[in-house]
Every structure is written in structure tokens, then in C-alpha cells.
Symmetry: none
Subunit: 145 residues, 4 copies
Amino acid sequence: MTSFTTPHLKLTHAGALQLLTAAVAKATAMQQPQCIAIVDDGCNLLAFLRMDGAKVLSEKSALHKAMTAASSRVPTGNTAVDLETRLALATGGQVTNLKGGLPIVVDGHVIGGIGVGSGTGDQDREVANAALAALAALAGARTFE
Amino acid sequence: MTSFTTPHLKLTHAGALQLLTAAVAKATAMQQPQCIAIVDDGCNLLAFLRMDGAKVLSEKSALHKAMTAASSRVPTGNTAVDLETRLALATGGQVTNLKGGLPIVVDGHVIGGIGVGSGTGDQDREVANAALAALAALAGARTFE
Amino acid sequence: MTSFTTPHLKLTHAGALQLLTAAVAKATAMQQPQCIAIVDDGCNLLAFLRMDGAKVLSEKSALHKAMTAASSRVPTGNTAVDLETRLALATGGQVTNLKGGLPIVVDGHVIGGIGVGSGTGDQDREVANAALAALAALAGARTFE
Amino acid sequence: MTSFTTPHLKLTHAGALQLLTAAVAKATAMQQPQCIAIVDDGCNLLAFLRMDGAKVLSEKSALHKAMTAASSRVPTGNTAVDLETRLALATGGQVTNLKGGLPIVVDGHVIGGIGVGSGTGDQDREVANAALAALAALAGARTFE
């Protein structure tokens, strides 16, 4: 029988604040201020914080990293070089291959994405993953090494 | 205990096609071609059809009606006059008070919105509601008189 | 004698739905959910469907593939490397060289374009061509290998 | 003597999170989920949260309320009727006269703005002011009745 609806999970704002708090703690420990964006699985903004000293223009790249990870369901940074510019141009910059975007996965549901920007790509990704690790401890979110 | 995720329903593409088909049938019976847009609860496009003879520029208004209904969770057309222009301007036209947008509600979950445009406001709304009635028969969607 | 009008063919919404249905069938068989966009020869949206599990951000790239194919009258993906970025930038991303866009050609008339996105470029193109094959069987549309 | 720099205060991310937390507490007590945006005095986003059940499309209006209040240094909602549409049009909707935006003022410095949206204008403003009251208790921020 055809199904017209399907069950899904949504990230709550409590969950989003938890991710934000854990990302800030990690970035503070690393002494690298960050912009942190969290979107739902529809790529709409759920939570955002720009830390003291983070780059103003990283707001947009952090957001686009979060959107890309939520949409593609994999970490950003692994797209083939010949594809990434085309995808960025075709989507008005929303799809980015900058490192630092990770999907938020709970119980097999992709419920959003987190994007971090202002440090190096590796620092950004480390902060994003630390946030997921905090959610993993509380709600079983998947992390990425 | 704080909850970091919450269960939700999603509209499937089969459900979206069902809505589209029912809207086309109603618009055909009324001899008023229409643009029909269906968005999910994140206001992202799920399905669209512009019928033969429908207005090209109604694509955008149909989309914005669907987005407004999905976001506000009530039919479009009832906002106070002094508010509607402000809301439209503050959202780049995404929030509209044109008649013809209805939320898609199943089991108490708002899972999206349908927006219809190209006829009069009353015709648009009649077609949107006929689509919901078809989904109601199959999946218990709520209709609006 | 100078002629002030010229006969043309237009794709109907029945034709667009046929393309959509065939694309969904192929994508389902390939187990690769897709975003499918169909535009007329004015590059205006005629029909769209985002399948369950397709990428949200592929809505825009699928649309731009369809627009590019309808406008250029050839499949996307073959523009010279030194041109493609310039064309994308000059058109705000509407012209894309991502694979997966095909012109809809009937009786020598380019009557629109179909764009598919969410899989690999080859998968996207395969689905677009399967849709054209279904229209070819019914209305003599041209396919592309 | 001409002075080439002038001392200024900046809102920290700790202050922004404090505003966010207080706004969430008030909105929860009122049982009206809200979108809450906090910008600095350059109108750049510092912090954002969309609460469970808040309208997706209120993200943009909450942001514009915050920007308008930070820029104009007065609460939104008091612009003369004949001016407000012109201002909105001239700024692409960034200047809004929707209620719910308040400047963040500490020691006579306007250090940003808070914008709240998803409820009625009065509810939005009440939540924004409750957030300022929490900051007033801690850092002497000005409130608006």
C-alpha cells in the first residue's frame, strides 16, 4: 500500500542549544573563536552563535556548511574538485565543500546539520564533531572521526 | 528530562503527487487552470505543477501561499490588513495573505502546505481544499471549509 | 513574404506529469531518490517533484539543469572548462554545466528541459533520459544516449 | 584635539546567550514558541534560536526586527504609517516596523538589537523586553515598557 506520510524525528531547540554549548566549550578550549550554525533537515536555521573574535563573514560559510551536510547527509569536504565549484555556482553558494559541516544523525534519521567556521578547516570540523559527541552522549547522535 | 529529539510525520512524494492529482482534477472540473505548489513543513518545495493556461507569474504566488500556510499553520487570507504588508515586506514576499494557501495537517502534525494560484482567491482556495479532501479520504488529512 | 508569427509546440501539463512519472519510476528502480524539474522553453517551471530521501539543496541545481538544457538546446555537461564558470557567474548560477539536464525535443521543436539532481551526474542523466524515452514512446520525443 | 578613535562597548557571546536563554524562558512561560535573533551594532547576527513550534518564516522577520532596532536605536513599531513601507522597500525589507524589535542599550551605548517573532506583536515585544530585563539585572541593560 502506498504511504502518504512517514515517521521522522526532529531536533528540538533544547538539542540545538546543547550542540551550541558543546561547540563553544570545545572552541574555547582550543582558543579558536568560531561561528556555529545548526539547521534542521529542511536546511532552515535552528540555532546560531558567533563567538567573540570569530570572523563576521564566517556566518554565511558556517550556515552553508550546515546546510550542505544536512542536505547531502555526509560531512562536507569530500566532493571531487571538478564538481565542487559547479555545485556551489548552481546553488548560489549554498552547497559548499569547505570542511566543517557534519550531518546530525540520530537513530538513523538525518535531523539536521552543524556547520562551524572561523578557524582552519580541521579546527572547524573538530569543533563540529565535539558538539555531535556531546549529543551522542545524551541522545545517541552519530559522530565522525 | 529534556528531550533532544521529537517524533514527527513527513509527507511522502506519493502523498504530494496525490495532492497534485486531486488539485488538477478539481481545477479541470472548474475550468480554471491553476499553479499548484506543495511544500514540506520546512517550506521547501516538494511538488509543483503549472496547468495549461495558468498564469506564469502565479508560480511564485502559489509557492508563497504554500510556504505561508505551512509556516503559520492556518489558511492564508485572514491576516489583519495593517499587518499583512509589513509581514510581506519583512520576509521578502514569502509571507503572503493571498487566499489559496492551506496547511497540510495529518494526525495533528502540520506536515506542509499547499498553495494554489491563477484563479480568484476563492477558486484557489476551493482547489486547495479539494486536494486536502482527497488526502483526507486516504490518510486522514484535515480539510478547511 | 515576412511572417510575423511562427507555429510552435508547447509541452502540456499532461506531458510534464508523464515525464515526472517516468523519472520517478526509473529513480525508484535505481534506488536513487531524485529531484526532478521540468521547465518550458521559456525556462519557467512546469512541474517538480522531490522524492523521499532526495537532497533538499538539489531542488535548485535540478531546476538550473532543466533551464540550461531548455535554453541551450543541448544536454548539460559538455561546456568547455574555461567557459563554464564564466557562464555560471554571468547568469547568477542559472547556466550550469552539471550533468543531468536534457532538452525536451519533439518534432524538431525544443519545448522545454528536464533536470535531475541528487545522484551522481551519470545517474541524474540516466533518469532524465528515461523520462524522455517514455515521452518518445508516446509523443516522439528525442532521447540522448 | 580631534580624536581618531572612540571607546565603545560590545556585546559578548556570553551576553547574547544570556539574552537567548531569558527569551526562551519567557516564551515558554507564555506558551508561545518564538524565533529570537540577536544582532550586534553592525546588524550582523550574533545569536539565533528557533523554538519548537515557532514559525519557520519568522526567522527572517525576527532578524529584521533586531537589525532595525540596532540601527535606529529605538523599539520597532512606532514609525509613521506613510514612512514605513518606503523604508522597507528602500532597504529590501531589512527595515521593518513590525513590533518585537528592541535596541540593546548598556551604559548609553547601543550595542545591538534583539528581535522576536512568531507570536502577536505584543507577545513578541514582551519576550524581547524580558530578555533585556535579564541583562539589565546582570549588566545594567535598559528595558522598554
